[in-house]
Structures are given as C-alpha cells and as structure tokens.
Symmetry: C2
Subunit: 234 residues, 2 copies
C-alpha cells in the first residue's frame, strides 16, 4: 500500500536550512549558509548515502541504516523545482534516486532520463498531480517527497502527506528556514494531529516517524486545569 512520505533533517529549533539571503532565493546558497551542514552531517557521514553518491568511506551504523531504509522504501519521488535545478549538474549521469522523480514546476520540459533508473518528469499542473503521477509510478512502494522544505510544507498543507519523519539534530541555530512555520495557514482552532510510530535514538540525531492524521479541530481537554499553571513539566 503506497504511502506518501517525507523526511527532513532539522535543528532542535526546527530549521532545515540557513537563512535565505535577501536578493537571491537560491536553495543552494541557503543550503550552504551557516548551519546547514551541521544539520545534515549525520546524512553525509552515512555510508548508505555516500555509496549512492559514489563517495568512499562513511559510517555504517544506525544512522546509515535509516538512510538505506529510506532509499529502499521509495518507489518514486516528488521534488521541488529549485532542488531539481540545483542538483541537475552535481547529480550527474547517475543520480542517487534510481526511481522516477516528478518535479513540480511552472516550466514545461521534456522528461530527462538518466542512468540507474532515475528519470525527471516535469509536472506543470500542481502538487496533487505530481503526487498522483508518482503514486502511479511507484510500483506499490512509497512516494517520497524529496524536498525542499517548502514542497514538504505544500504537501502537508494540502492534506496529501501520510507519514513525516523528522531527524532532529541536537543543535540550536537561532535562525533559518523552518519546516513547520506560519505559512501552514492553520486556523486558530485548528491543528494537524500526528502519531509517533517509531523513534530511533542515536547520539547524533533522534529519528521520529509520525503518521499524519491530518487537520482536525483542536480538542481542548481542560481536565485538571482548575489547578492553574501548576506543572513544572509544562
């Protein structure tokens, strides 16, 4: 049963990338600004990631297993246009995806077929269409929303995301781009409820997988609230 999944490495204060500098808006520039490499270091050190990139070395550990698992689970990808543009040259002739990638864009373009099973199909009629096309291409495996963060937000906001895995890196950066930010456009009495389904803890990063239960009215359970702001665990 195909799920639509997304995963993102975030700092403890919720940032997946450094601040976007005024006047560029380029993902790579933002990615390379302060803090980003700190947040993704556990990935770039993982052997399972380095193998896919054709890099030597790396750690074969629980973090690497998480990366390997995510590659294995994805039968197709959905990707934002900036991420696809930024990766086109460095990914080269054999990109690490080894599966069809559907790029959400406003610019029509012929499908780009690469080696190793990766292709890039440019979808101009919106996120929901890209997710549907990816679902059809996934062969029963999952549709992974590869990024960037703003696309993950769009998919979440549209109610299309079934599973979100956050890789929470124990660093506070103080500034940057947040995955879960105000542009989710939740109403004051509305929330997105999730259920943690798996937690893997390592010294470098805490991996928490959530089933997304979707938007729901906030259930305010004030049992015990008569006691006032009493708790020290609040």
């Amino acid at each position: 049963m195909t799920k639509v999944t997304a995963q993102l490495s975030v700092s403890l204060d919720g940032f997946y990338a450094g601040p976007r500098h005024a006047g560029d808006g380029d993902w790579m520039d933002s990615a390379e600004s302060a803090g980003f490499f700190r947040v993704t270091r556990w990935v770039t050190n993982a052997m399972a990631w380095r193998e896919r990139q054709g890099f030597a070395g790396g750690e074969r550990d629980a973090n690497s297993d998480i990366v390997a698992e995510s590659f294995g689970a994805a039968g197709a990808y959905v990707m934002g246009r900036r991420m696809a543009d930024g990766g086109e040259i460095p990914w080269g002739e054999e990109p690490p995806f080894r599966a069809p990638v559907f790029v959400v864009t406003h610019r029509p373009r012929e499908t780009l077929v690469r080696g190793g099973g990766t292709s890039f199909t440019y979808v101009t009629d919106g996120v929901a269409s890209a997710v549907e096309q990816a679902r059809a291409a996934a062969g029963g495996r999952d549709v992974a929303v590869a990024g960037g963060g703003s696309l993950v937000r769009q998919v979440l906001r549209a109610g299309l995301l079934d599973e979100l895995e956050l890789h929470i890196v124990p660093v506070v950066l103080g500034a940057g781009l947040r995955l879960l930010d105000a542009d989710l456009d939740l109403g004051e009495k509305e929330a997105i409820e999730l259920t943690p389904t798996r937690v893997v803890a390592t010294p470098e990063v805490t991996h928490i997988r959530y089933a997304v239960r979707g938007r729901a009215p906030l259930v305010l359970d004030d049992r015990g609230s008569g006691g006032g702001p009493t708790t020290t665990v609040a």
Copy 2:
C-alpha cells in the same frame, strides 16, 4: 552533583503556549488560548501530576513516571514572575513543588512560606543570582527552572543550563510562543550544541533529554558536499 535543568512540553512546531494576545501579555491568558491544553494534556492526565495537585484519577504509565521523576529530582526551583503570580491563588496553601522556589522579579517582597515544604523567595538581582540561591538550597539535588518559557530561554542564553528535557507532543499548532526563538541572540556563526542523553517514546509524547554543551562556533563539515544537494534525507 547539582545540575540546572529545565523541561518544557512543546508542540511539534516548537510552541509551548498559544499566541500571546495583543494588549494583555498575561501568561494565563496565553496559556489558555488555543492549543496549550493540547500540549500539556499528557501532564494533566498523569497520575503523578494529579496527586501533587490533590486531584483524583489519572494514568499511571510511562508519562506519569516522567513527571514523578522530575518532581523527585528537583531540590529547588527557579521561576518567572508571571508564572508565580498566576499560580499563587490556584496553588493554594500546599503548592505542588514541596521545595524552595526562587522567583525572578523586579518587585521586592517578603519570602512566602507555604505548607508541604514550598516557599517562594523573591529575587530582584537577576537570573544568575536566583540560580545561585536555588543551588545553595537544593541540598545536592537539581535546580529546576520551572518556567515560563521566557525564563528558560534566559537561563539557556546565559549559559546557565546544564540539561534540557523537551516533551514533544505530536501536534502542529501553527502559531504561539516558541521556546527556541530568535531572541536567543545567536550570531550567524554560532550555535548551541547539545547531546541527547535519554529518549522515552510513548504514543502521546516523545521525551528527549539533552545535556547542554553550550555555545560553540558552528563547525561546518562539508565532507561530501561536492555531491550537491543530493540527499532525500535532508
């Protein structure tokens, strides 16, 4: 060996309380606004918390054990003025702390001695002084920064916090007051590094305890970055 600790329940998007409404600034109003009870429900449902409040019922489970542990570990508390003011009446003659509480305030006031071992000492010469007085009173147990969130931020910013435990509740609220927000005043090349030391996962909340290693220059390890923005686990 006395540690200075803090813990806070936060939504997955990092909020410990609902938005503060313009024109009041009152903690209670903020606490009661949308979302707050959702974030602290696991606490108010815990038997260990309800016992301290004199309420019947509650769940005796792993979450309750976390609450009991935190009460047991604290030999003294540091508290913000708004939290202390807001609690004074509802906490009544036997507040749940059962230990000396040092309130950071600008208004001098006589120490208030309550039943059950709780006293409130009003400290007018700053956060560091309150922490020092609490340390001297803690009898070798820990100094717990009880809240509110802005006091936790102050203690963290001042480099006085040894341990931070976040209780991450699986709900996205979209707005509110964040513990880890821009007013931490980190420089662009500076971060706060932490180390996760314990993770307890339950369906209602993920408890992550961190040792705070303090402010550090950001170490940018770009090993592998030549591959570009390749990872789907980023």
